[in-house]
């Protein structure tokens, strides 16, 4: 009985940890998407459009390189 309860507690703890990890990953990804969405509009609004667009484009490319690259190491 005691071992059943402790096993449930361990599972519950693991589930909660997985949930919070998932939410954290999702928030990071959603924030990146939001930055790109706002960034493309702001880049056109600022004075030097071509520089701003280049910065945004580089940011998008950097995101991709880092996101894919960090998984390739595992």
């Amino acid at each position: 009985m005691m071992s059943d309860l402790s096993s449930k507690a361990v599972h519950g703890h693991a589930d909660a940890r997985l949930r919070s990890t998932n939410v954290r990953t999702a928030i990071v990804l959603a924030s990146i998407a939001a930055v790109f969405f706002v960034g493309i509009v702001v880049a056109k609004l600022v004075g030097d459009t071509s520089t701003a667009m280049s910065v945004l484009g580089a940011a998008v490319l950097l995101f991709l390189v880092l996101a894919i690259g960090r998984n390739l190491r595992k």
Partner: protein
């Protein structure tokens, strides 16, 4: 390693064996479902429906082009048909089909019980039907549907009627759905893999989808931002792209293709993943060069962000820009060549059999390579200047996206239908389907190369007499291609109704990923206890 030997899998018990494979029934099962298999099914059926809607548009276009002169539709309506055909096939058919495969397969292939955010998964799907209704419904509003091409270039898109607003709104909704789906897929793959399933043990289909999802996160907001600017130009007096107010229409082309070229890879990478599962299974050999395949897909994804301007060589770029984009585009052929080589090497001296999924995979390999080759031709700036906006371009991208993505998706459907439905598909029907679409596809699209080289422009309802013969051939092929899809529907209905041989857990001798350790059909709940992959 992409494959998991069965004796290395422990804990592949499933819910049905524990007596709780129950699920709701009736229509509400699908409205409220959070189950990845139900949602995968809905995505796939939705995409098939939209494929037929987009297909009817295509057949109307081909009927109009059967002979010179205006015969069936008004030119304005013709332009709407070409625009909506593109938008529906891309956002309504191919992308949702890929997400459907991801929903069904990713959790089962990585040993996860479901997607990370099951409710968001439901929401991602249910955003699509209203968006599709808006797109199709735009035909019935004053001014008709958007008619400036699927690329929505200003000034046409700034000047168009209310149909353009509905199109922009539909793109926003579909984009939101794609971003939510991508977040779900990335989170699932990164955080919910079975113990022991390291990144370099992931099946290649999962890898290709992980990279596709990253691409979606990177580019869908860019598209959403640019169409939002179009919307404000149309209704709120801004001049982002409106030349009359000091805006820059060419900038829209840059921003659009910064989204648009990676979008091509968003549509083709999952197809690469499917083919990378099918070929080893029917060659009965492990995939040749697994690590190089992963690196090749990663390289393709990254390179896809630095080639966008090859779609707009004729807008007037500096010579340095033309050269950069020409060479960068040609560079993509290297990782793509690695993949094609690896698929061929996997087949080399394999104990191959040629069931329907393998036929589609080989058809994909043959025709996609041809499409890739014409892509290289178009990458050459001097040639592209001549071929820009001709039927050569139409032929090229249909070889890539129809013979590429669509063939792979059909192959994937036949490959996994036994797992999804518990019934083996009808092999005779499958082979008839393959050969009829293989022949009719080439009758439709191969002549378009000749038309393009001869100078026939795309997106026109009428043409000079000199183009008549090949247009007639292409139209006959198109109707054959359309009718051939009914064979697939027949085969699909037979499987769903259970009219066929009962499928074993592992119908394909060489298949070795985790889903084949489950019974067929896959139970409603799977891998509630994660398997251990050693």
């Amino acid at each position: 390693m992409s494959t998991i030997p069965h004796d290395h899998v422990a804990g592949d018990d499933h819910a049905s064996e524990h007596g709780h494979d129950h699920h709701p029934s009736g229509i509400m099962r699908y409205v409220l479902t959070t189950n990845h298999k139900d949602i995968g099914t809905m995505y796939l059926l939705f995409s098939l429906t939209m494929f037929f809607v987009g297909g009817v548009f295509a057949l109307t276009i081909r009927a109009e082009l059967f002979e010179p002169g205006l015969q069936i539709v008004h030119p304005e309506f013709f332009n709407s048909l070409t625009t909506l055909h593109g938008l529906i096939m891309i956002f309504g058919a191919i992308m949702p089909a890929a997400v459907g495969f991801a929903n069904w397969q990713i959790p089962m292939m990585i040993g996860a019980p479901d997607m990370a955010f099951a409710r968001m998964n439901n929401w991602s799907f249910w955003l699509l039907p209203p968006a599709a209704i808006m797109l199709i419904g735009s035909f019935f509003v004053p001014g008709g549907a958007a008619a400036g091409g699927w690329t929505l270039y200003p000034p046409l898109s700034v000047q168009a009627g209310m149909g353009m607003d509905l199109t922009i709104f539909a793109i926003h909704i579909m984009g939101a759905s794609s971003i939510m789906g991508s977040i779900n897929i990335i989170t699932t793959i990164l955080n919910m893999r079975a113990p022991g399933m390291t990144m370099m043990k992931l099946p290649l289909f999962v890898w290709t989808w992980l990279i596709t999802a990253y691409l979606l996160i990177a580019v869908m907001p860019v598209l959403a931002g640019s169409v939002t600017m179009l919307l404000t130009d149309r209704h709120f007096g801004t001049s982002f792209f409106n030349a009359a107010g000091g805006g820059d229409p060419v900038l829209f082309q840059h921003v659009f293709w910064f989204f648009g070229h990676p979008e091509v890879y968003i549509m083709i990478l999952p197809a690469f993943g499917i083919v990378s599962e099918i070929i080893p299974a029917f060659a009965r050999k492990p995939l040749f060069g697994y690590a190089s395949m992963v690196y090749a897909v990663s390289s393709i994804a990254i390179l896809s962000f630095i080639v966008w301007a090859h779609h707009m060589f004729t807008v007037g770029m500096p010579a340095a820009g033309l050269l950069f984009f020409m060479y960068a585009t040609m560079l993509i052929a290297v990782p793509t060549g690695v993949k094609v080589f690896n698929w061929l090497a996997t087949m080399w001296r394999g104990s191959m059999t040629f069931e329907t999924p393998m036929l589609f995979a080989i058809g994909f390999l043959f025709l996609f390579t041809m499409g890739g080759f014409t892509g290289l031709v178009l990458a050459l700036t001097p040639i592209d200047v001549q071929l820009q906006d001709t039927y050569y371009v139409v032929a090229h991208f249909h070889y890539v996206l129809v013979a590429g993505s669509l063939f792979a998706f059909f192959g994937g459907a036949y490959y996994w239908l036994p797992k999804w439905t518990g019934t083996m598909y009808d092999e005779t029907l499958g082979k008839w389907h393959f050969w009829t679409i293989m022949i009719s596809f080439n009758i439709t699209f191969f002549p378009m190369h000749f038309l393009g080289v001869a100078g026939m422009p795309r997106r026109i309802p009428d043409y000079a007499q000199q183009f008549a013969d090949w247009n007639m051939v292409a139209s006959i092929g198109a109707f054959g291609f359309g009718l051939s899809q009914l064979i697939f529907v027949w085969a699909l209905i037979k499987c769903i109704r259970g009219d066929g041989v009962k499928a074993p857990a592992k119908p394909w001798e060489g298949a070795d990923t985790l889903e084949w350790t489950l019974p067929s059909p896959a139970p409603y709940h799977t891998f509630e206890t994660p398997p251990v992959v050693k």
